[in-house]
């Protein structure tokens, strides 16, 4: 079996943890996020006949991206950047986190997720604002942690990209 470590990055309250919960029912509680700064879950996928164990490091999101522990990023084969469509500042934080990730673990695949797709009427984030990230991401997708729309597809896309790389 192939195992891959991925990180879930994003500003505070962009819905990272909710996205993971749509995918797995983990054994660790959310309080790890505020104590150790990370909560880890595992998800087994099958990508084109290949079994893949994805170990998801859900990093505590703080608007001050410097509080993110870079050591947690070490060894990641990919990451997921999450932006809250209703909060513009989450784009900036995502950009900084992206830079931190690229700097720490190098050019690994990542996907950009715009969460709260179900609240699209309230969106203040415009697509051009994420154009820089869009160019580099292997997938940009609008997802809803509330309905679960697009979540699994996003993880699958990242898995495929990691297996290719």
């Amino acid at each position: 079996m192939i195992q891959k470590k991925i990180c879930l990055l994003g500003a505070f309250a962009v819905g990272k943890t909710s996205l993971v919960k749509r995918l797995v029912s983990g054994i660790f509680s959310d309080k790890y996020l505020t104590t150790v700064g990370v909560k880890i879950d595992q998800k087994k996928l099958s990508i084109r006949g290949q079994d893949l164990m994805m170990v998801i490091w859900d990093l505590y999101g703080d608007d001050d991206f410097q509080k993110v522990r870079a050591s947690y990023l070490q060894g990641s084969s990919g990451y997921i950047l999450v932006i809250d469509g209703t909060r513009k500042e989450t784009v900036d934080v995502a950009g900084k986190l992206h830079e931190l990730a690229q700097k720490t673990i190098g050019p690994v695949p990542f996907v950009l997720l715009l969460n709260k797709h179900d609240l699209v009427d309230e969106w203040v984030v415009e697509c051009p604002m994420v154009s820089d990230l869009r160019d580099q991401a292997c997938l940009v997708s609008m997802v809803s942690a509330k309905t679960g729309e697009g979540v699994e597809a996003a993880f699958t896309a990242l898995s495929e990209a990691m297996l290719r790389s």
């Binding site: 192939i2 195992q3 470590k5 150790v36 990370v38 879950d41 595992q42 170990v55 060894g75 084969s77």
Partner: protein
């Protein structure tokens, strides 16, 4: 011009062909006929081109290798074909597959079975060891109270330490390379736990600004300890219940070191594929160690003394019980062999053993047998009915008692016959016959070898008397003095003979016979012989005898003496008185030796 012709040998003819002029065609055939043939052949070959097996076989190995280096698509394509081929192969020739995998499968199964058996035995031993003890009962109560299985409670109380889980973790990524668990341990989310252990290490390291080489060595909560061994590329997290010994740490570190040495390249180039690390399982399983609290070996002195006393008491009791048993067995053996006693049953009555049966009054006293074997007579009672035993021993005993033989007589029993041997008085012999026949079990008596001492004496005296002779002088009826002394000897014999005759119950007549020599006339000789006989009779008649009767008779000339006529000496022997014993009658017929049969 030359160059033009050579550089366009293919396209111009096609164009010219469209012209359709005959001359041009003729010219073209003349100029380009050989090339045209070659071109046609090439075209035909291209149209019908098929790659042959030979060409493919030459390039296939390199092609597969090159493609595998690019990506996994070839591998993914081959998976279903390989699976189907394998399935078909198993279906068609299962023996071939079986033979191929038997060496590795057999070893793996043996190892797994051995491990399972060891763990089962260990668990069973513990459960058995503690299930019947006082402590075991306490633990059963605890198990019942807490609702936990008894085995688990025993394990918790007896466990010194037990390695429950091992996580071999890639240091850089925190990904789980391999994981083993002890029997009965359940776990979930090993990959996430592995990541979390790495994250916690990072957290601690970052929080306290330790270098990358440093790491958490130990976590402890309750009776659970997590030891983390650090390697250059991997860490070994060991979950231990209880208090592990320090030397276990060496075992874990050595295991991690050897794994590093063996999987150095795989660890450095790890990209998430954990397949290669499946082979680390035996190494990790060797670390699944456990140690249990040994039962206290030393025992309290008081307990030992008590045990010694109990043992001594037990030994004393066992000795006496054994002795008692031996004595009783000996007693039963002897009473069983004893003639005249028949034991029909032995019953326990009021704490005593009572023997029921029969006993001949002449048989040995059973109480004496008890004394002889040393068995307490208080513990045994007898309820033996009297009876007469007809065994040879008892008949003999009874014969001795009834006959009361003198010491010179030996009594033996042969079947229903009493055999008497030796010497005895006439009186004893005369009544033994009647007495013997009254003994139960006796129907014959044999006295062939029994000598009557009185008869023997009687015969001796008779012979002695009949050899006596009182001699007279020629022509005289008067007894010479020297012969008078001899008559006293004869009188003594007669007195003894008289006594023996009384004993034998016989009346005797003694003929006192007078003889004379042939010298002289017959009438005188007859007279002379009568005188001589009377003379001796007169001397011998006093004192009177009890049963003897003497009778004097003149026999005249000695018939034996005439044969020696002419010799004075022979005449002298003829002038005599001789004696002859005549048994007139038997008052009590004397017992003749021989066999008598009873009624």
């Amino acid at each position: 011009m030359e160059r033009t012709r050579r550089s366009s040998p293919v396209s111009p003819p096609l164009e010219y062909a469209k012209e359709g002029t005959e001359d041009f065609s003729v010219l073209r055939r003349l100029l380009l006929a050989p090339e045209q043939v070659q071109l046609d052949r090439l075209r035909q070959r291209l149209d019908t081109f098929v790659v042959g097996p030979e060409e493919v076989s030459n390039v296939l190995p390199d092609a597969i290798r090159l493609r595998a280096q690019q990506d996994n698509r070839l591998l993914a394509s081959m998976v279903p074909i390989t699976q189907e081929a394998l399935a078909l192969s198993i279906k068609q020739s299962p023996q071939l597959i079986s033979d191929s995998i038997a060496p590795i499968l057999g070893s793996a199964i043996r190892k797994a079975l051995s491990r399972a058996m060891r763990e089962m035995l260990q668990s069973l031993n513990q459960t058995l060891e503690y299930s019947m003890s006082w402590q075991g009962l306490q633990w059963r109560w605890e198990a019942w109270k807490t609702g936990r299985p008894f085995v688990e409670v025993v394990l918790l109380h007896t466990l010194r330490f037990r390695v429950e889980q091992l996580f071999l973790i890639h240091k850089k990524t925190g990904l789980l390379l391999n994981h083993v668990m002890a029997e009965g341990i359940s776990s979930q989310g090993e990959a996430a736990i592995s990541g979390m252990l790495t994250a916690i290490q990072d957290f601690v390291r970052d929080s306290f600004q330790q270098s990358q080489d440093e790491g958490l060595e130990s976590l402890r909560i309750g009776d659970l300890t997590v030891w983390i061994e650090q390697g250059s590329s991997a860490i070994l997290a060991t979950v231990i219940r209880g208090t592990p010994p320090v030397k276990l740490r060496d075992v874990l570190q050595n295991t991690l070191d050897s794994l590093h040495a063996q999987y150095s390249d795989s660890l450095k180039n790890f990209q998430g594929d954990t397949a290669v690390f499946l082979e680390t399982r035996p190494f990790l399983e060797d670390c699944l160690q456990a140690q249990f609290v040994k039962k206290q070996k030393g025992l309290p002195v008081a307990f030992l003394v008590l045990c010694a006393l109990l043992l001594a008491l037990l030994g004393w009791w066992a000795y006496h019980a054994s002795l008692h048993h031996q004595q009783w067995t000996e007693f039963l053996k002897r009473i069983g062999a004893e003639p005249g006693i028949v034991v029909t049953s032995i019953q326990e009555e009021e704490g005593r053993r009572v023997l029921h049966g029969w006993r001949d009054p002449l048989a040995v006293d059973p109480e004496r047998l008890l004394e002889e074997v040393g068995y307490s007579s208080n513990a045994v009672g007898f309820h033996l009915e009297p009876f007469i035993a007809l065994t040879p021993e008892m008949v003999h005993k009874r014969a001795i008692q009834v006959l009361q033989p003198p010491e010179s007589v030996e009594v033996s029993i042969e079947g229903n016959r009493i055999v008497l041997m030796g010497e005895s008085s006439h009186r004893w012999i005369s009544r033994v016959d009647q007495s013997a026949m009254a003994i139960p079990g006796v129907s014959e008596i044999s006295m062939e070898r029994l000598i009557d001492t009185d008869v023997k004496q009687f015969e001796t005296l008779r012979n002695a008397l009949e050899q006596q002779a009182i001699f007279f002088l020629e022509g005289q009826g008067r007894l010479p003095d020297r012969e008078l002394v001899k008559t006293q000897q004869v009188k003594h014999i007669l007195q003894e003979l008289d006594k023996e005759a009384v004993k034998l119950g016989r009346e005797l007549s003694i003929d006192v016979m007078g003889y004379s020599s042939p010298v002289g006339s017959q009438s005188i000789n007859l007279l002379l012989s009568e005188m001589r006989a009377k003379k001796v009779l007169d001397i011998l008649s006093e004192p009177p005898y009890q049963v003897l009767k003497l009778a004097a008779m003149g026999k005249g000339v000695d018939p034996d003496g005439t044969s020696v006529a002419g010799e004075e000496k022979g005449y002298a022997r003829s002038r005599r008185v001789s004696f002859k014993v005549v048994e007139a009658k038997t008052i009590h017929p004397p017992r003749e030796a021989g066999v008598r049969k009873g009624p």
